[in-house]
């Protein structure tokens, strides 16, 4: 099976490495990695969806801002997502529809309280297989 993401160890916190055949897939997989740290994505049903627009200065920071936007909806509105349709993506803007449901303590287990995506050791590269990104998360 094609790799979608991996979890990376960092002394104080935790990181993710996401893969994608194209940038849209990379962004979608990074978001999946994020929610796989927060909860068990299999336990999340698609009961609601949210249309998001994120903009930033460049593609690297767009990735950080994208994850921070999702973290915000998790922390402020307690929404868990498990599917991300990236509709459009330029070097500094994206629109996406995110599917998931509200946190239910009887149904969902919260594994890690991710609080921010950081610029620390941020990497986004293209190689012969596609794209790869590394993001460290503050928990």
């Amino acid at each position: 099976m094609k790799k979608t993401f991996e979890i990376l160890d960092h002394t104080a916190d935790i990181g993710i490495i996401a893969y994608g055949a194209d940038v849209k897939e990379l962004f979608s997989n990074a978001a999946l990695a994020l929610f796989s740290l927060i909860t068990e994505p299999e336990s999340v049903e698609e009961k609601l969806h949210l249309d998001l627009e994120v903009s930033s200065e460049d593609r690297d920071s767009l990735l950080v801002e994208w994850l921070n936007e999702l973290i915000y909806f998790f922390d402020a509105n307690h929404i868990l997502f498990n599917r991300f349709d990236i509709e459009s993506l330029t070097h500094n803007e994206l629109t996406a529809t995110c599917h998931g449901e509200g946190f239910d303590p009887l149904k969902h287990k919260i594994k890690t309280g991710v609080k921010a995506a950081t610029y620390h050791m941020l990497k986004l590269d293209k190689n012969s297989d596609g794209y790869k990104a590394q993001i460290i998360l503050d928990i």
Binding site: T11, I14, A76, P105, G113, A116, Y119, H120
Partner: protein
């Protein structure tokens, strides 16, 4: 992770210097407080490189410091201290951290171990009931948007005015529990939305609430000024910060700083060091928003301290006054402050970044609270839940050398992942119970991440700052009951 191979020059047994020549662009040398035994583990990660990177920041004066509890952070190391001249220096949100004013508050009691030990389970259960903890936990205090604006400006006083705690608590809180310059208009709606439901909660991660017993007193005079008079006396330690509110403020302003770096042409070795001139709009906006988060964190600890007093009172059937539950002190571990320091014989206003570091002002300093004027400002240094915590005081030497700063805790040794692989949460509970320490946690699996083995021994950390003279040990306490978020 590759080992750090850079140069460390020994100044004395507890001070190691990274010379300015190590990397082109360093404006000052780095200074790491550490014992010889700590150097090996220090080199295992690129943490000293971060100390060198901080030395690149415009306006930095003296040294880029690292305390002995140093470990790898984002941009700045945790345990880092950097002072920037306010005239030509920068302020960096990374030099404060995401959890703005993460800090600790220590309460004393007149209770003895013998009185509390038989009731420890009841006390811990009551605290668990009364103090909201864990992820997604919401506060017992309902804060409206309007109240949120007041809270950001007033700090701990906001809680005291609502009957949560005593006015005398404010006298023994850093900055009186209110950092001036807070401006809610510099805080995003997102931060407010994250902050409102989380006010008055302990949170998760490394945050905790601990019932402790005094095991050793190193300086009985200073200890008695603090209200610590006997071995076996019971204390309560609260460790929490500004929750999602502080994180959102840091996230929002890092983004602004990213732009500021380009606008002001600042050259940085690491993107996470993003900063802006202190006197620029971007710098001032950050400081105004940071103060809001600092004040929010003080409200948080103020509320929790009140519920701690209530919990003890409910279980033991006596008023908090009868139980001698006075506040010893409350310190910030993650903050940037404008302070005056003597540099080459001249008083200079600097912005001191303390990220995982504690202010350690000496006796006689104008900002040392009245109660501690003759002994120095209390410094609270929590260890991990299986070992011990220390109380110390600030010194003249810290004032002269490290911009009145010292260490803040144990410092991580193992990553969370490594800790989880090596240790099971359930084993942590059993092992601690065997040693008379009751642990109650929202998430048992998360406990492994906070196990003793994941941290450096705080005793070695405090010994370095004590020997180096940047603080003086006063007392040591061990945990008896712990609540982890």
């Amino acid at each position: 992770m590759t080992r750090w191979q850079g140069q460390l020059i020994k100044i004395d047994d507890y001070r190691w210097k990274i010379p300015e020549t190590y990397k082109t662009g360093m404006r000052v040398p780095g200074l790491i407080y550490a014992s010889k035994e700590m150097l090996e583990s220090l080199r295992e990660e690129q943490t000293p490189e971060q100390v060198a990177n901080v030395a690149f920041l415009p306006g930095i004066v003296g040294y880029s410091f690292a305390m002995p509890d140093i470990h790898w952070g984002y941009g700045f190391p945790i345990g880092g201290v950097a002072a920037m001249d306010i005239k030509d220096g920068v302020v960096s949100p990374g030099g404060v951290g995401y959890d703005i004013n993460c800090g600790v508050r220590l309460l004393c009691t007149s209770l003895s171990e013998a009185e509390v030990r038989p009731r420890i389970n009841e006390l811990i259960n009551q605290l668990f009931l009364n103090v909201p903890s864990g992820l997604g936990s919401e506060g017992k205090i309902k804060v409206s948007q309007k109240e949120m604006n007041q809270l950001m400006v007033e700090g701990a006083l906001w809680a005291v005015k609502r009957g949560l705690g005593l006015e005398e608590d404010l006298d023994v809180t850093e900055e009186g529990g209110c950092l001036s310059g807070a401006d809610p208009s510099k805080v995003s709606d997102k931060a407010v939305k994250r902050g409102m439901p989380q006010a008055g909660t302990l949170g998760s991660g490394n945050h905790f609430l601990e019932i402790q017993v005094v095991k050793e007193i190193f300086d009985s005079h200073i200890a008695s000024v603090m209200g610590i008079t006997n071995i076996g006396q019971v204390l309560v330690l609260i460790h929490t910060g500004s929750r999602g509110f502080g994180h959102q403020i840091c996230t929002d302003h890092l983004r602004v700083m990213e732009q500021a770096v380009l606008k002001y042409g600042i050259k940085l070795p690491d993107r996470q060091l993003a900063c802006a001139p202190i006197e620029s709009k971007e710098g001032q906006d950050y400081l105004a928003a940071m103060a809001c988060a600092a004040n929010y964190a003080w409200v948080n600890r103020q509320c929790i301290a009140h519920w701690v007093r209530e919990s003890f009172s409910e279980i033991l059937g006596k008023s908090p006054e009868k139980l001698g539950m006075r506040q010893i002190y409350d310190v910030a571990h993650n903050i940037a402050k404008i302070e005056e320091h003597a540099i080459n014989g001249r008083n200079v206003k600097v912005c001191v970044h303390r990220k995982g570091a504690t202010r350690a002002f000496p006796a006689g300093h104008k900002d040392t609270p009245k109660r501690y004027k003759e002994v120095g400002q209390p410094v609270l240094v929590p260890g991990d839940m299986g070992r011990c915590s220390f109380v110390a005081v600030g010194t003249e030497k810290a004032m002269k050398e490290s911009f009145g700063s010292t260490c803040h805790g144990a410092g991580r040794l193992l990553s969370r992942g490594a800790a989880k692989r090596a240790i099971r949460g359930a084993d942590v509970i059993r092992e601690l119970e065997g040693r008379g320490i009751i642990v109650k946690a929202e998430s048992v699996s998360a406990l492994a991440e906070e196990a003793s083995q994941a941290y450096k021994d705080v005793t070695q950390v405090i010994d370095v700052v004590h020997q180096a003279g940047i603080s003086r040990k006063v007392a040591m306490a061990v945990p008896m009951g712990v609540i982890k978020g």
